[in-house]
């Protein structure tokens, strides 16, 4: 029996603030796993890398389309209920320690990104030396998504992503 988890593409970069995952979403799949790992030198005032979705022309899909609900479990023992930020320009991943490059990881589950009926929904679990974060994102657009953009106000000394599609037939 043929397997249904298929590698769509991999991406890598270094010494940059963004990583575009262009053209990863197609009509072949309606569910995706995206695995992200990297080292980030954070901007101390804005330490969370962010996620945006791209259209088929690799343009960002709206600056006020992102609602997210997250629960951040910091390594200092605090729980941060980061749910108040509706209509943002992007969704968040996990706070990364400032200073020299620190490790960060994220696992995104992307549901029906090609739908022109539904908004875009992403479930994410993120980890760094600063803690763990669970994030649910609703991107309020019915335009079909073509890709993702990972971004930081600091610098990714290295950043890697692997995208897998899950076939349903």
């Amino acid at each position: 029996m043929a397997g249904k988890l298929e590698l769509v593409n991999t991406f890598t970069g270094s010494s940059q603030s963004t990583l575009n995952l262009n053209g990863i979403f197609t009509d072949d799949y309606d569910f995706y796993h995206v695995h992200i790992r990297g080292l980030q030198s954070a901007d101390a005032s804005n330490p969370r890398p962010t996620v945006k979705i791209l259209d088929d022309s690799n343009a960002e899909l709206g600056a006020t389309n992102y609602d997210y609900a997250s629960l951040e479990l910091s390594d200092n023992g605090t729980l941060t209920d980061n749910n108040q930020n509706s209509d943002q320009s992007s969704s968040v991943l996990i706070m990364v320690d400032s200073g020299t490059a620190h490790n960060m990881q994220a696992h995104l589950k992307v549901f029906s990104p090609r739908s022109t009926t539904f908004y875009k929904y992403i479930w994410a679990a993120c980890n760094s030396e600063a803690g763990y974060n669970k994030v649910g994102t609703m991107v309020k657009t019915t335009t079909a998504a073509g890709g993702l953009k990972i971004e930081t106000a600091g610098t990714f000394s290295e950043i890697h992503a692997a995208v897998y599609g899950v076939k349903h037939e």
Partner: protein, 176 residues
């Protein structure tokens, strides 16, 4: 690179109003230790909770043997973090969806020990949806049946007799 071990068992697409969706039953394949369920693009004809039962064979087990707990995070000025939990419940609550613009329910479930009559069938869930207030909610948690038995799938239903109107429900076996 070896072939991956995620193997399709059954995919059900809802294209007209239906009260329940069943995965497994006569289509259940009992050769896997673990199973994955992916549900996406689900809409309902009224804003309601979605519930889940295990199948004993082909029938939904509506018994007071379900326990579950999950953390729900929502965008709201009034309600943010909620722990949803129950023991001895007749079903497993897994979330909801509203009827607002772009609303849908989506989740991934991992099922364990459904084929072992000596163990408790259990699972974990990662869920995201637009709730009845039009806000995004996300959940992470787990569930199990308190009686050790073989189970052969899942049945999903909408609370208070409303209907699913769209969605794809897919069951995979995770090969070893």
């Amino acid at each position: 690179m070896s072939a991956d071990k995620l193997e399709l068992i059954q995919s059900v697409e809802v294209t007209s109003a239906t009260a329940t969706v069943t995965l497994g039953g006569t289509d259940w394949v009992n050769t896997y230790d673990s199973y994955k369920v992916v549900i996406t693009g689900v809409s309902i004809d009224a804003a309601e909770e979605i519930h889940m039962h295990f199948l004993d064979n082909t029938n939904a087990q509506v018994t007071s043997n379900y326990s579950y707990s999950f953390q729900r995070s929502s965008v709201s000025t009034a309600s943010t973090e909620t722990t949803v939990k129950a023991t001895g419940a007749n079903d497993i609550e897994i979330g909801e969806t509203g009827t607002g613009t772009g609303a849908m329910f989506a989740c991934e479930l991992l099922l364990q020990d459904f084929n072992d009559a000596t163990k408790l069938s259990s699972g974990m869930m990662d869920i995201v949806f637009q709730n009845a207030s039009g806000e995004v909610s996300t959940e992470t948690g787990g569930f199990f049946n308190t009686t050790a038995a073989v189970h052969k799938g899942l049945q999903f239903e909408v609370e208070t007799g409303d209907n699913f109107t769209a969605g794809r429900f897919t069951l995979y076996g995770i090969g070893s």
